[in-house]
């Protein structure tokens, strides 16, 4: 068996196990865990938006929560008085976040890395102060309310049923991401990520693809926001502030921003882990310990937890190949980042 074949089998196995767990967990865990799982899914979607922007295209954005917020509020209005069916409102909410994403992406035409980070941070703070902070729009502490959809004769009022709905959306977005990555757009994205000057020299339109990246990322985040709103039945603007954006980005980078797996891991880190540990330690101490661990993780492995897992995978592959007597496999090249 070739090395590539082996890898594919390992990957397939891992994804299969993950899929199995995703389907079985809500039935195995106590009922109130379904809510935690839903939150993990919506967070994963937001993390996926970061993977698209930062992992695929190499652009940094510290204002993702802003896009999430626009998606959430748009969905509230669309499914509320306007009575737009949920399945139509969902992509529309994603679309509503796109102009904001483009606006945030304008600095990306000229700035990179750290300076883009500062610019997007400032953008997030400015929007937070003007729009989200304005309680005549966002309804202040009581916020804006949502309802669970009723479709195909099913009522998604229960957390478990809504979880599967959200999971389906997540899977769709993952498939979409993988397709984009493999296609022409994905290659252009990768070229930009790996070296803008070279990419521009080979004819890749930096402006168009960067804008596209921001639009796509905002779309994903907006969809995540809409789902988040419908999951929690009510949002207030504190869920979309600068600190949330920072949390999303840091956790996703620590989990591994280069791959879809990183997005899923980020969702779990932010939701399942704190909930699982919450009985053991008082809340604040728990947060401190988690933050410290994450910081240490970043220092030790800047390529993220998924990167570390990839290295493990390489080690396993080499071990298996050696056992099977294949000539020493060439040092595997890390795919992606």
């Amino acid at each position: 068996m070739s090395e590539a074949e082996l890898r594919r089998r390992i990957r397939l196995g891992a994804w299969g196990a993950a899929g199995f767990l995703a389907i079985v967990l809500p039935f195995v865990l106590p009922a109130y865990w379904s809510f935690v799982l839903v939150s993990a899914v919506t967070t994963s979607i937001v993390a996926l938006s970061i993977v698209v922007l930062t992992g695929l295209v190499g652009q940094i954005s510290l204002c993702q929560a802003t896009f999430v917020g626009f998606g959430a509020y748009a969905s509230a209005r669309l499914t509320g008085d306007a009575n737009v069916p949920f399945l139509i409102a969902l992509p529309l909410s994603g679309l509503a976040a796109v102009p904001i994403g483009l606006l945030a992406g304008v600095p990306a035409l000229r700035l990179r890395g750290l300076y883009l980070a500062i610019a997007t941070l400032g953008f997030g703070a400015a929007v937070q102060a003007t729009i989200f902070g304005n309680s005549t729009i966002t309804g202040g502490i009581s916020g804006v309310s949502f309802e669970r959809p009723k479709m195909f004769g099913l009522d998604f009022a229960g957390d478990r049923s809504f979880y599967f709905l959200a999971l389906a959306v997540l899977v769709l977005l993952i498939v979409f991401t993988v397709n984009v990555r493999r296609g022409k757009t994905g290659r252009a994205f990768a070229a930009i990520r790996d070296g803008e000057v070279a990419a521009a020299a080979s004819g890749v339109s930096l402006a168009r693809y960067k804008m596209m990246a921001f639009a796509l990322s905002a779309f994903f985040a907006g969809v995540g926001g809409a789902l988040f709103g419908h999951a929690t039945l009510s949002v207030n603007s504190s869920s979309f502030d600068v600190f949330q954006s920072i949390t999303f980005v840091t956790i996703t980078i620590i989990a591994g921003v280069g791959s879809v797996a990183g997005a899923l891991l980020a969702g779990m880190l932010l939701n399942i882990m704190p909930k699982a540990l919450s009985g053991i330690l008082p809340g604040n101490i728990l947060l401190v310990i988690l933050s410290t661990l994450l910081l240490v993780q970043l220092a030790v492995a800047p390529e993220g937890i998924v990167g570390q897992m990839r290295q493990q995978e390489d080690a396993v592959v080499r071990w298996i190949l050696r056992r099977r007597g294949a000539p020493d496999a060439p040092a595997p090249v890390l795919e992606g980042r």
Binding site: P30, L95, K275, N284
Partner: protein
Amino acid sequence: MSRRSPRLSFRDKVFFGALAFSLLVNVWAVDSLRTEVAALRQAQRSGSVGQVPIGGDDLQPLESTGADPAAGPTSPGATGVRAADVPAATDRTGVSKGTIKIGAVITQSGLADQTPILRGLSAWIQHVNAAGGVNGRKIELIVEDDGTDTSRGSAALRKLVENDKIFALVSECAPLTDAQNVEYLRKKGVPVIGSCVLGGEQFFKNPYQFPLRLTMGSMGRLVGKYVAQDMAAVKPAVIQLDHELLIEMGDGVVAQWKKMGVKDYTVETAPVVNPNFTPTVIRMRGEGVDNVSLLLDTASTIRFLQAASQQGWNPKLVGVVGYDEEVIRYGGAQVEGMMVPFYSQPVRGSYPIMKQFREDMQRYYPGEQRLELANNGYHPAWVFTDVLAKLGDNVTRRRLIDAMDGLTNYDDHVIPPYTLRPGNHETVRACKWAVIKDARAQVVSTDWYYLER
């Protein structure tokens, strides 16, 4: 940049079309949100959810809800509140032969700290259990922390309701979580006795929720009345923190001033983060303001007091957090003479139940300093067990709710006697006044100060 072809490709056209459309969606969404929130505010400003049947009430009825508040939980309101499943007459969740399970989600960590409420609640429950429980049943209390995280809080709430199967929520206080889960609790028909001071109008709309307090608007009206009438202010001003609840209170103050014919008033909204009051002080002094109501948190109140004393300005003051020892200690000379409203019996006073409260706190939580907050946990629990006792052996959720909805001139010894009805869960609009003198809050009202008398 690569050279662009002069004509837009089909893909580009689709993209720009979608972009234009999504811009429209955004504009419409923002506008629609604004309209809805404004309608909600209007409903709140023009009165409260229901009308208190004490003579001479002339508050205008609700305008845009399209519902008769006294009709009970079956009519939809402006916020799209729909008829919920009524807890079945035989719903005995949480009640067993020897115990009744109650629960609460109380924010104890993260960005807020309501732990004294937990202590007050727990102190009373321990007192009750030590005396043999209620009608032979002990009260089992399960409390969760939401860590100021709504996801965690919502999960904790669901755990309490669906997993632990509590009978009712008592002294519930997790502000962000509670605001998000009104719908959920209503759909599940869980009775909620008592909720945070930090809750808004929506809690009064839930037919199974009994906040046992005034609306923020009514609290504001009381301040407005006192300032205009008892303090004889000529040119009053109110400074409200840019937080929805305090704005609600400020709206109440202004509504009362308008009603009393006060024409020359000023409203100022202070930002939540690091407000700088020097320009405000200079401006207000220049305009001849003689009375300022401070609807602010502790830190901002201190900031204002310091700014005012620095500029040498000494208007009459009303401060809603004036009883806080930090305000008294760091507010400077200006604090002397500041009036402070109390919406329940002063906890350090000599009223019998307060003595018992202090004894219980001393016995179970001797170090607790924030007694005002602890009382917010003790008071609802005390009402709950009192009403529970009247149900006798046949304890169901429905009977509890009906009993609460039937309370008439009920004196819980903490707030003035009140009458609750379906659709009207606001208690009597009254308060007591204290003045800060000699670094202490000294009560000056001998009796309750009513809004409508």
